[in-house]
Structure formats: C-alpha cells, structure tokens
Amino acid sequence: MQPKRRTEDEDTEDDVARALARLSETDLLRLKAIARLRARGLPGVVGWSDLMNEAFARALDGTRQLPEGLGMIAFLAGIMRSIASEHWRRLRREAGMFASGDEEGMADPAPDPERSLAAVQALATLDQLFAGDRTASQILAGLAGGLTAREIQESYGLTEVEYDSARKRMRRLLLRQGIKWSYP
C-alpha cells in the first residue's frame, strides 16, 4: 500500500505548529505585551489571554495562513488585530447596524456607542500610563492624530534625540506593564 502523500496544507500546518512550539520565553512575553495592548481597545469582557489564545488556535488550525517571509510574532499580532476588528463588526451586526456583509468595503463606519466608550477608556488609560512623561504624552497625542515622527517632532519642537529617547522609555514602560499585568 502506498503511503499517503502529505498535502501542501498539511506541511504548512505542521510548519506553523513547529514554529509556535519554538517560541522562546521572550517571544511569549513580547506577545503577551502586544495582546495586553490590543485588548485595551476591546470591552472588558474580552481579555488579553482570550486574544492570544484565539490567535494561537487560528494559526494552528490553518484558519489563518502564515504569509511567506513574515515572522511568527508579527503573524500572531496581525491575527489578534483581526480578531479585535471582527469583534466590533460582530457587535455592530448584532446591534442591527449592518445586514451581514454590508460593512465589507466600508473603511471606517461610524462607531457605535460601546466602541466609542471603549476607545475613550483605552485612550484615558494610555494617557495615564505616560502622564509623568511630557514628551511621551506629546508623542502619544501625535500618533493618535495620525502624525508621522517628523510631524510630531516639528509640532512639539522635539529634537530627534529627544524623540528617540522618549520612544525608548515608552517601549520599556509598555513592556514592563504588558508583561507584569496579571491574568486575564
């Protein structure tokens, strides 16, 4: 009897499983920090661990395909971003704001009150996190406003060194907070 030939899908799924199994401790902690950050934009019932677990599940079962050349952490982060977007789309459908599928192609439909409230709360939390750092707060405001790094520097009169130093402080604070925050 001929051995069953493995399909390309099977090989891909196994590749993903092996890549997930190889994630290091720092990889997992980086993912946790990203999941904590992404969960900030969601209502309280959805925790960072839900996001992370679902991302692992979708990567493992082949629901999402790992694009060639993309790192596993960036891949999982992208899945978490998609899950967050899907969550809001689902709520909008349930609220009767869209018939199923109507939202496709709409770049930024007006938010429902729950999403607006979640955004206000998340922005306030992030603002509070960097409240003691004036430059970081300025960068935060600039990023929220869609400004580029150059535009933020010009708007607030920051030198490149000041900007980069503040970014490092922000990154380290996000990592500390993202790693430290407890379950969920």
């Binding site: 069953k4 899908d9 990154r171």
Partner: protein
C-alpha cells in the same frame, strides 16, 4: 471644526505602539523581566485555555464560526484527511509553571 474619531485615534495609537513592541530589542524584554520578576511560565499555567477561548463563535466570517465551544475543523479535516494531534507548545520552553 471636525470632531476627532476616537476609535480611529485609538486604532492608530495601538498600531504604532504595537510596532514599537514588535521592534523592541530582546534585551529590553529581558530587562523588563528582570524588573518585574515575571516569567513566560505564567502564560502557560493552563494549556487547555488555548482551545477554549470565549471568543469562539464571535467572529464575523461564517468560515470561522465555532459552535458549542468546539474548535473548528482544520482544512485538513475538512478535506477528509487525518487529524494531527495538537503539538505540546510548552514542552520545549525552559520555564513551566511559575506565576505572576
């Protein structure tokens, strides 16, 4: 004057901060671990959680729908092939258990 869309502002902010975390050097993560005393083992207390997400059944795409808490079949299963045991994601990690 147009009102700022806070949901879009948050999305931009989260995307930018996520990019920072993706680009963070390993030494920054190790420094954060040293400061906080946290270990990845804290993430791995209950492996079963990965397959029991409360997000199941919440996604918009019907293909992704998970009903009754069951994990959706993989494309391999859908195609009638064998099913692969889920790998032990934790067996190769240096730390197990631990806590926050």
């Amino acid at each position: 004057m147009t009102e700022m869309r806070l949901d879009l502002a948050l999305e931009r902010l989260l995307d930018a901060l996520e990019a920072e975390l993706l680009a963070a050097p390993e030494e920054d993560i190790r420094a954060a671990v040293a400061e906080t005393g946290m270990k990845a083992g804290a993430l791995l207390v209950d492996p079963q959680r990965i397959f029991a997400s409360p997000l199941e059944g919440e996604v918009s795409d019907a293909k992704h729908q998970r009903v009754g808490g069951m994990s959706q079949p993989s494309r391999r299963q859908e195609a009638g092939g064998d099913s692969t045991p889920l790998p032990d994601l934790w067996s190769d990690l240096p730390l197990r258990g631990g806590g926050e």
